[in-house]
C-alpha cells in the first residue's frame, strides 16, 4: 500500500513536471501566431474556471457572466486612458470593480434560480453594455476606445501576455481547487444538490452564493482587464459578447462542471478545435458549435473529466474501480 502510494507520488511529480514544461516552454519556441493562439486558450481556460465556480460548484447557470469580463476590460481601458494608471494597478482595480459589482447585484439577482437567474444575468450584461456605450465621454461609447500599447518589443509583449494569461488561468483553477476543498465548496455543493435542504441544515445560502459570484466575477474581471491591454482596442460588443459567454459556459460543461481541471480541458479542446478545423470554414463554425453542444448534452453530460474517469474504470475494472470511486468521493 505504501509502495503503491509512493509510486503514485512519483508518477504525479513526473506528470506535474511535464505539464509545467508544456505550459512554460511554448513562447520560447513557437511563432507569434501560435503563441497568440495558446495565449487565447489560456484566457478561455481562466474564464471557464471562473464561471465554473457558479455553474459547476453552486449550480447557478450564470450565462451572462461575460458582463464581468466587459466590466474589467473597460475598467482597465478607462483607468489607463483617462488617468494614466499603470497597467497592474488598473488590473487590480478591474478585479475589485467586477467583484463589487457582482456582490451588489448578487443580493438581488441570486434570489432567482435556474433559467430565471440565467436570463437575469443576460439582461444585466445587455444593460451594462448599453450603460458603457452611453457613458461615451468616459468610455468612447460606440466608437470604441484605444488602449495604450504595451511599451516593450514585440517579443517582450508576446511573453508578457502569455505569462499574464497563464498566471490568471492558474489563479482561477487554483481558486476552484481551494474552494472545492473548504467550507465554501461544501456549502455550494449542498446548495447545488438542494438549496432548501441546505438552508434548513444551516447553510447561509445567500451569503455563500453571493460570495461565490463575487469570486467568479473578480476572476472574470481580471481576465477582461488583461484582454483589454492585449487587444489594445475595445468596443462594447467585443467584450460584452453573449456568444463568447455561451462559449465559455459550454467549455465548462464540456470539460466537466464542478471538477477542478475539467473547464480548462474543455476550453483547450473547444478553442483548439475551432482554430484548427471549423474556424476555417465560413459560417459553418456556428453550426458545428451547435452540434457539439447537442452531442455533449446527449453523450457526455458530466463532461470529459468524468468520461475519462469512467473509461479508466471500465478498462481497469474490479478493485481499481472501487479505488477510483473512493478518490472521487473525497475529491
Amino acid at each position: 500500500m505504501n509502495g503503491s502510494s509512493m509510486g503514485r507520488r512519483g508518477a504525479g511529480l513526473i506528470l506535474g513536471a511535464v505539464v509545467l514544461a508544456a505550459l512554460v516552454l511554448p513562447p520560447f519556441y513557437l511563432s507569434g501566431y501560435w503563441v497568440r493562439v495558446i495565449t487565447g486558450l489560456l484566457m478561455y481556460g481562466a474564464l471557464a474556471s471562473a464561471i465554473n465556480i457558479m455553474v459547476g460548484l453552486a449550480g447557478y447557470p450564470a450565462l451572462g457572466n461575460i458582463v464581468f469580463f466587459g466590466t474589467g476590460a473597460y475598467t482597465v481601458a478607462v483607468l489607463m486612458v483617462k488617468a494614466d494608471t499603470p497597467f497592474f494597478l488598473a488590473l487590480a482595480v478591474a478585479g475589485v470593480v467586477a467583484a463589487v459589482y457582482a456582490a451588489l447585484l448578487g443580493a438581488a439577482v441570486l434570489r432567482l434560480r435556474g433559467a430565471y437567474f440565467s436570463i437575469a444575468t443576460i439582461g444585466i450584461n445587455h444593460a451594462t453594455s448599453e450603460l458603457v456605450t452611453n457613458l461615451d465621454g468616459l468610455t468612447g461609447g460606440g466608437r470604441g476606445t484605444i488602449v495604450p500599447f504595451f511599451p516593450g518589443s514585440i517579443e517582450a509583449e508576446r511573453m508578457f501576455f502569455y505569462f499574464l494569461m497563464l498566471a490568471l488561468m492558474l489563479l482561477a483553477t487554483g481558486t476552484v481547487y481551494l474552494i472545492s476543498r473548504n467550507r465554501l465548496g461544501y456549502g455550494l455543493r449542498a446548495i447545488k444538490a438542494d438549496e432548501q435542504a441546505a438552508s434548513v441544515m444551516g447553510v447561509n445560502t445567500t451569503r455563500y452564493k453571493v460570495l461565490a459570484w463575487t469570486i467568479s466575477a473578480g476572476l472574470t474581471g481580471l481576465v477582461g482587464g488583461a484582454y483589454a491591454y492585449w487587444l489594445a482596442f475595445l468596443e462594447p460588443p467585443y467584450v460584452f459578447d453573449i456568444v463568447m459567454s455561451v462559449k465559455v459556459y459550454i467549455m465548462a460543461i464540456l470539460g466537466g462542471a464542478g471538477t477542478v481541471i475539467g473547464p480548462v480541458v474543455g476550453a483547450f479542446f473547444l478553442e483548439l478545435l475551432s482554430e484548427l478545423i471549423w474556424g476555417r470554414f465560413l459560417e459553418a463554425h456556428m453550426l458545428v458549435l451547435g452540434i457539439v453542444v447537442v452531442l455533449v448534452v446527449l453523450f457526455v453530460p458530466r463532461g470529459f473529466v468524468d468520461l475519462a474517469g469512467r473509461l479508466a474504470r471500465a478498462l481497469a475494472g474490479g478493485s481499481a474501480s472501487r479505488r477510483a470511486e473512493g478518490v472521487r468521493s473525497d475529491g
Binding site: S31, G32, Y33, W34, R36, V37, G40, E130, T133, G141, G142, R143, G144, I146, F149, I154, E157, L231, A232, F233, E235, P236, P237, Y238, E275, G279, R280, F281, L282, H285
Partner: protein
Amino acid sequence: MYDDRSDPQTSVRLTTRLITEDGVRFIFGPYSSGITNATSAIGERYRVITIATTANAPDLYERGYRYLFGTLPLATTYLHPVLEMAAALPEPPEKVAIITPENLFAIAAAEGARQKAEELGLKVVYFARYPQDTTDVSSLLSAIRDAGADMLLSTGFLQDGMLIVRQAKELRYNPKIMGFTVAASIPDFRTNLGRDAEGIMGGEWWAPSMAWEDDFFGSASQYAEEFEQRFGYVPTYHAASSSIGGYLLQLAIERAGTLDTEAVRRELLALDEVTMFGPIRFSDKGVNEASSAAGFQIQDGQIVLLWPEDISEGSLVYPKPGW
C-alpha cells in the same frame, strides 16, 4: 487569405498569423473600421503595411500610424454631397435630423454630416445615437417628426435603413429628403423596399457609371462588367475600393523595385493617380484625400448620380414622393 468571421479576436490572431507564420509584408485589411483599429495595431508593431479598403473612420488615421493606408475618403464626408444638394435647392429643407447607430464608422459619418449641415446653414434640430442591432426606431422617428425635421439623414447599415423607411411609412412621417450612407447604395435596399425606396438619396464612394478610368482596369463600367462576369453580381464600392487597393500596392511595389516595406511606403505616399475608382493621393496620415463622395437619388428603382453637377445623370426629385 483568411476569414475573420468579423470577430476582432479572430481577426487579430489571423493578422498575427499572416505576419509571423506566412511571412506576409503587405496586408489588405478587414471589413469595418473597428476591427481594422485592432489589426492595424499589430501591423504597426511589426512594420507591415496594411491597406484598408473598407475602413475609413477618422479615428483610425489619427493615431499617427505609419503603415496604414486607406483607399476610401474619410467617413465624415459620406453625406456631404446630399447636404450640398439640399443647400443648393431654391427652397432647401429647414430642419435636419441625423441619427446613427453606436458604431465607430457610422458615428463618424453622422458627426461629419452635422458639421457640414451647420457650415451650409442648415439647422440640425435632432441628433441621436441608437443601439446597434436595434429592431425598433419608431420612438426615435416620432421624436424627429415632433421636432419638425423635414430632412432625415441616417448613417446606419442596410437593416437599419430598411427599418427606418418601413417605420417612417407606418408613422406617416414624410420628410422632404431622406438620405442614407451605405444602406441606400446596396441593391437589396431597393429590391426589398420597392417603391418605398423611391426618392431616397445617398452618398456613394463609387458607382459603375462614374466617368473615371485608368490603364489597368479601363473605365469604371468596364471594371464592373468584368467583375460581374467573373463573380456574378454587380460590384459595389467595397469591391472597387479593394481592387484599387491591390492596384495601388502593385504600382508602389513596381516603382520601388523592391518588397522593402519602407521603400514601398515611400512610393505609396508619393502616389498621385487617377484610377477607375477616382483620384487617389495619400496624406501623411494615410488617408486618401483626393477623392470625395458623389450624391445620388433612387429613381425608378435605379441609382441616379446627381452630384457633383458635372457628373449628373438626371435631375433631383424634390420633395421626395410621399408614401
